[in-house]
Amino acid sequence: MDMMQTVHTLTSITPARPWGLDIPNYFWFTGSSAAAFIVSSFAHVFGMKKFKPIAGFSLLVAFVLLVAAPLNLIDDLRQPGRMINFFLYGWENFGTSPMKWGVLLLATYPVLILAEALVLYRPFLVRRLQEANRGVTRAFYKGLTLGRTDLSEEALHKDERLGFILGAVGIPLALCVHGYTGYILGVVHSSPLWHTPLMPILFLASAMVSGTGLLLVILPVAQRFFTTTGRIDKEVMTALARLLGWSIIIDLVVRFFWLTFAVAFNSNERYRLMDFFGYHFHEILWVEYVLCLLIPMIIAFSRLGRRLPWQFAIGFVAAVGVWLFRWNTVIGGQTIGKTTAGLLSYHPHLFGAGSIGAVMANWLLFVALLCAVLLVFPWDEEMDRHYGKELES
């Protein structure tokens, strides 16, 4: 007789769970930001020439993603007015609460990216300062150059060194900023879906997928419609598509370890996980794995991966797939009963805190901020310079 089948809950209370839509969205934003930063560092730190033209652009994307991301967290707080309490109290839990140190990372990392962007774009900003007629514009660009208007060979060399250092410091910081979000979930032993030391690595691997996917979507749009030449760099798109393919491979390998350790071997948690994966089997297998990971990976390495519409499509699908993975992890982990039997289901509200509306608003804000930052920083001029140089040589 299967003992598991013989318990029926006649009456109980459905437990409410704290983390709604905001949190998967937040994880997606920070992850994609880390990946965009790393793509930019390929050029600035590792000297990979093929990523040079988009290094500045992806740095700006990383910055905007990370400015928009924490707004999800603030929306998720039940008492957002008490944010100061975070900094005043509770330092005794520094070692045991990843949220405690994670927020510090979250506060320093965007400052670092902004500093790097200001250093790298300084020559362009100085030129805009020199061209500016109105006092307000002059003051604005003067602020952005941080008062350093020297364009001598020596000063430019210093910028390059500083950019390298900031980029080199930024790589571990970017990994930490997104790694900590996985850490936050990984330490929660009450949720069998979360409780694995692989969670930070899992988050980082899938972040590379979503970040590269996002660049494959925004870069062609920005280059086609918002640069003077209107030319989409096919070479860099192909490089990004290849990077997407490799990121998916790494992601799949980590997921293989995660799922086989969690479900295949005899642990107490596996029964709850098998219940969870059994219930969601088809959506996870066909949507998350086949449609959003395997097919984009195959396309990325095939001949189709060199054609723009396919690059755009696989970038979009892979980025959406990682969002679904964040959703399945954060919301899914909370649907598993702890002392109640069975699974829970989540019905997000349309309006109010943590609602569909709030997350949509966050996306709109991201787009608005991206437009504003792309207006202020002369990323298009930088691209033109790279492509101009290519033409000369």
Binding site: M3, T9, S12, A16, R17, R82, N85, S97, V188, G342
Partner: protein
């Protein structure tokens, strides 16, 4: 290094040292606290009774599922609608014709190693000296990390305070020498409360004298709420039908709550 710079550094050092000394000697109720202002001020409500270790025993053979404890807790602690600090789920065990009913009274287990406390980023939830785990509703910012960290689902967001809330073993009553409201109202005498540090107390006698267990011992949180006669099948049950309340809302055409049990 130039003299100007050296002098500046010296002066800066002196200022920092003075500031640190002032902060160290300031009154305990200072604004900045590495822990929590109430604890620094040694407020008795935050410290508890230092020589005690409060615990509870649930004698399941005596529980009749009357929910008197649930009602008493709600009245005593002014708990809003749809949230509960304690409740008694009702189960049906076995298959027809061999069926029996079981009740599992639940409340915060006041763990010795509470996972809710270690993850709290504001220090709002903490264990008192007597082991009672409480939430400072003035400090909590409502991030919900503790709700997810609790392996027993015994925390919720209070709709009135908008912060994490849970059973306190009626700390305000036990500090006055009274019993928790649920214990006092338990008609079958199924809830026994007392000091686990005192070997002569009834809880100590029951915990050491008869086989007892705690909920989900594998979680490693060392709960201080013990159960006598807990059926093994009541723990770790992967599948279950939807809960009556969710079904009733569906039947009445009400919009589903944000979280419901799966049909």
């Amino acid at each position: 290094m130039s003299n100007v710079r050296r002098n500046f550094l010296k002066r800066l050092g002196a200022v920092v040292a003075a500031a640190a000394a002032t902060m160290a000697s300031a009154s305990p109720a200072k604004a900045f606290s590495s822990r929590n202002p109430g604890r620094d001020a040694k407020d008795p409500r935050y410290v508890g009774q230092e020589d005690k270790r409060w615990g509870m025993v649930m004698d399941l053979s005596k529980c009749i599922g009357c929910q008197a404890c649930t009602a008493a807790c709600k009245a005593e602690n002014t708990i809003p609608d749809r949230v509960f600090r304690t409740w008694v789920p009702e189960y049906e065990l076995g298959r027809y014709p061999r069926v029996r009913k079981a009740f599992l009274p639940q409340l915060c287990n006041h763990c010795e190693k509470p996972s809710c406390v270690s993850v709290c980023p504001t220090g709002a939830t903490f264990a008192r000296e007597d082991g009672v785990v409480v939430v400072d509703s003035e400090i909590c910012w409502g991030c919900g990390y503790c709700l997810n960290a609790c392996p027993y689902d015994k925390r919720y967001f209070n709709p009135l305070t908008q912060v994490a809330d849970k059973c306190t073993y009626c700390a305000h009553r036990i500090d006055e020498g009274l019993l928790p409201a649920c214990v006092e109202s338990c008609v079958g005498g199924a809830r026994i409360f007392g000091d686990l540090n005192d070997p002569k107390s009834e809880v100590s006698r029951l915990v050491s004298g008869a086989p007892s267990t705690v909920l989900n011992p594998a979680s490693g949180t060392r709960p201080q709420t013990y159960y006598l006669g807990l059926a093994g099948e009541l723990q770790a049950q992967p599948s279950g039908p939807p809960i009556l309340d969710d079904l009733a809302r569906k039947r009445d055409g009400l919009p589903a709550a944000e979280w419901t049990t799966k049909a």
